[in-house]
């Protein structure tokens, strides 16, 4: 499958963020969106996720499911972790697994994959920033979606966490997934660069 954006134009609060942006990502490929602060990296991800409406142009998935929208085939890992502090680590993950339509079953394997199985019963309120990130990553594993939209995915992760995430992304690409990541830091996997908003 192929994720394509054509002549995208994004306007936020009356200000043009970017225009005439084209990109294309194939299965098994990762696109790293780079650019200075405010260049529109997050806006681009939210456009693809359908959370922002483009002022012009369109985003399309070619060769994916005909019945599902781009957003419905995508995981969005944003700045905010979508975790409820009052719920335990396991409850948070089970909720998203059920809500997003993942296969039923134990969530512990996904938690073990991101190294959180030993604190499955701890309320998410007590997690560190890095642990919250890891729990969000577990969501990507618990429910299979071909498109991963990642916004600064490695922020707050320690070196081991970054290596772990690089491995998970690599596995995802090998299984035919595709990744669009907004990032400043190297992701640790082979990526193609998309620079927006001119030189830094």
């Amino acid at each position: 499958m192929r994720l394509v954006g054509r002549r995208l134009r994004c306007v936020r609060g009356g200000r043009e963020v970017f225009s005439d942006l084209d990109f294309s990502v194939l299965s098994g490929e990762a696109l790293a969106v780079t650019g200075r602060n405010g260049a529109g990296k997050t806006s681009l991800l939210r456009l693809i996720a359908g959370l922002l409406v483009p002022a012009a142009g369109q985003v399309a998935v070619e060769g994916g499911s005909d019945e599902l929208t781009t957003a419905e085939q995508a995981h969005y890992l944003g700045h905010r972790d979508a975790l409820k502090p009052a719920l335990s680590v396991r409850e948070n993950l089970s909720f998203w697994r059920d809500f997003l339509g993942g296969a039923r079953g134990d969530t512990l394997p996904a938690l073990a994959d991101v190294g959180l199985d030993h604190i499955a019963h701890l309320p998410a309120a007590y997690l560190s920033a890095g642990q919250r990130r890891r729990l969000s990553m577990a969501r990507l594993l618990a429910v299979r979606r071909p498109i991963w939209l990642l916004d600064e995915p490695t922020s707050a992760l320690d070196a081991a966490g970054q290596a772990l995430f690089a491995r998970l992304m690599d596995d995802h690409l090998r299984l035919g997934g595709l990744i669009v990541a907004a990032t400043h830091a190297p992701l640790g996997i082979a990526v193609r660069d998309l620079r927006i908003g001119g030189p830094a």
């Binding site: 969005y76 700045h79 409820k84 719920l87 409850e91 909720f95 059920d98 809500f99």
Partner: protein
Amino acid sequence: MTALTALIRRDLHVALRVGGGALIGVLFFLTVVVLMPFAVGPDLALLKRLGPAILWLGALLASLLTLDRLFTADHDDGSLDLIVMSRTPLELACAAKALAHWLAAGVPLIVATPVLGLLLNLDGAATLAVALTLLAGTPALTLTGMIGAALAVTMHRGGLLLAVLVLPLSIPVLIFGVAASNAAISGADAFGAPFSILCALSLASLVIGPVAAAASLRHGLD
């Protein structure tokens, strides 16, 4: 269906745990009603006459207090983005959230009513009548309030805006809720007519509320 039950269960869990909204609503209801006899004075006949109105006002304000967090909490932690993106229609997700809110914040108000009726010198039958009208009317409060909550989250203004938007919409519910209660208590007027209208308001808001809230959330995406 799994998605919706998961959403309802999560919202109930969050509301019922420490720091959740459910208890706050009941406590506020309790406070408003308990304060009334002190403000009105020890005139038992007057209290009895005002009783249904006080209980209804208390329930209205308490539900307003908890509605504020209905979408704001999900917006602040990023859950709302994922709910909007999901394969579950947003209208159904809104309806599920409204149901969870009503179960966590509306039902406790109804359960607390008999206890509070004692403080307002209402006899058993009168308290039952008020509880019954609250049962029929609080869904309308939640569902119309949800529209305001959705608008408030897209405009990044909580609290006060919600009250200004929602209170006018709640006036019909308040009128017919108190009218039905009074009719049941005094027996002078027919109970059926205002009670039917109250039920109709709840049913109409069940149709309009989720659609309007979902439209507002979609329109206000950013």
